[in-house]
């Protein structure tokens, strides 16, 4: 990022001078790295936007029309639920398949929900509240068999578990750079699979692309049809470095590390009286994101006490996911969430467990 700011600084794709081309080279390199990470059919089908929410909005608003039926789950984030609820006003209907109390989803229930007018299945691969991993590939195969399009929100899973657009049968994959890809905020978007033509998807915004400037209509080719205005090139330069780091580490190695930490944290937390832990409570079936509550102490109080007294920073409340909290039985109070990553250590876990144990003793 400092290289981009100090040495490049130009607008990618907006001129033919060497610094503009160098900026475009950096953005193209990120496109390739993202395409490789998810086995996308073509780097030009990687669409960068404001963030993953922007990518989800492009997919849902760009694709769905009046009369279309959508299937989703009871573990979704508002990044999906709010656009879907908005689309109700435009004649789109959706069905939320009920999940188990630990967030697990039975693929058969998804298949049973398919209607003659079902166009799309949209799922959050890993819960942002309790880490539950949904059976993405199995449901992808159902979507393919039923000739439905399939949108996957990988906000919590990209960089955590291997994702392959081809074998997982994903048509629309949304991603963010700022979570487990370890890049900066404001880097994210949508990958459009090979079964979708550019004209099938309506761009949610129009404007300058640096291409076809003689025309006042939006281009009809990837990626320009969906990318206009100046991109966050400095952020994407940071994401490129992050992806290179991720490749040197290996997702499998990070996943193995996170599984060890997740198991340690689950063992520690479940040993504490008055503690309720949500989700599968099994490192194989979830990411290293753990939701819990101390009975008799509000989540907001727990968060404040952990911050002030123990230097432990976590997110409390509803995590922009009221649906998921209803499924887990934690609506409307929410819960405390610990999210672990590649840089956490076993010592971090021991300290966190002891801090929660101390707070739990004070709860009434």
């Amino acid at each position: 990022m400092s290289h981009y700011l100090d040495e490049v600084g130009a607008n990618p794709g907006r001129s033919g001078h060497r610094l503009s081309i160098e900026a475009a080279r950096i953005v193209y390199a990120v496109r390739e790295a993202i395409a490789n990470l998810f086995s996308a059919p073509d780097p030009l089908r990687v669409i960068f936007g404001l963030n993953i929410t922007d990518g989800i909005n492009l997919a849902l608003h760009g694709l769905l029309k009046s009369g279309d039926h959508v299937i989703t789950s009871g573990m979704e984030h508002n990044a999906v639920m709010r656009p879907l609820n908005d689309l109700l006003q435009h004649g789109v209907v959706f069905h939320q398949v009920v999940c188990e109390p630990d967030g697990m989803l039975d693929p058969q229930k998804v298949e049973n929900a398919v209607q003659p007018n079902t166009r799309l299945i949209v799922l959050n691969q890993a819960s942002n509240v309790c880490g539950t991993l949904l059976p993405i590939q199995e449901i992808g195969q159902i979507a393919r068999r039923k000739n439905l399009l399939y949108l996957v929100d990988t906000a919590q899973s990209a960089g955590v578990v291997p994702i392959d657009m081809e074998t997982d049968c994903i048509d629309l994959l949304t991603f963010t750079g700022h979570k487990s890809l370890y890049g900066p905020m404001g880097t994210g978007g949508l990958i459009i699979g090979g079964r979708i033509n550019p004209v099938e998807l309506h761009p949610t915004r129009q404007g300058g692309t640096g291409s076809r400037s003689e025309r006042e209509e939006q281009p009809d080719f990837f990626p320009d049809r969906f990318e206009c205005g100046t991109p966050n090139a400095v952020g994407l330069a940071g994401l490129l470095t992050a992806l290179e780091w991720l490749q040197t580490q290996g997702i499998d190695k990070i996943r193995a590390h996170e599984k060890i930490l997740c198991t340690l944290l689950l063992e520690g937390l479940t040993s504490i009286p008055k503690l309720v832990v949500y989700g599968p409570q099994n490192a194989e079936k979830q990411t290293a994101t753990i939701g819990f509550n101390i009975q008799g102490m509000e989540p907001s109080t727990v968060g404040l006490r952990l911050d002030d007294g123990y230097n432990i920073l976590c997110r409390v409340g509803l995590h922009c996911a009221p649906s998921a909290h209803r499924t887990l039985g934690t609506f409307p109070d929410g819960c405390v969430r610990f999210g672990l990553g590649a840089f956490n250590t076993q010592e971090d876990i021991y300290q966190a467990v002891e801090a929660v144990r101390t707070l739990a003793k004070e709860a009434t």
């Binding site: 794709g13 907006r14 001129s15 033919g16 001078h17 780097p43 291409s211 400037s213 003689e214 080719f221």
Partner: protein, 74 residues
């Protein structure tokens, strides 16, 4: 005799970069330049190549199923 060039016109800078990467990999001479006004009113870039390598490059692009708008001799 001065060097003779051709240019590959493409839809966008991203398309030009994809071609540049392929040509560099195959040790073919290329440079991204602003699109000459007499060829197109586009404000983007195109890929300048050596005229003598044009046939080889056309074959390579075809093998990799890479679409172009056109290839023009300068």
């Amino acid at each position: 005799m001065s060097t003779e060039f051709a240019v590959i016109l493409v839809d966008s800078t991203s398309h030009a970069l994809r071609i540049e990467k392929l040509l560099v990999k195959h040790e073919l001479t290329c440079k991204l330049i602003p699109v000459p006004r007499h060829l197109s009113s586009d404000c983007g870039v195109c890929v300048r190549i050596l005229k003598q390598e044009m046939v080889e490059i056309k074959t390579l692009l075809s093998e990799h199923k890479i679409d172009t708008q056109s290839i023009e001799v300068l």
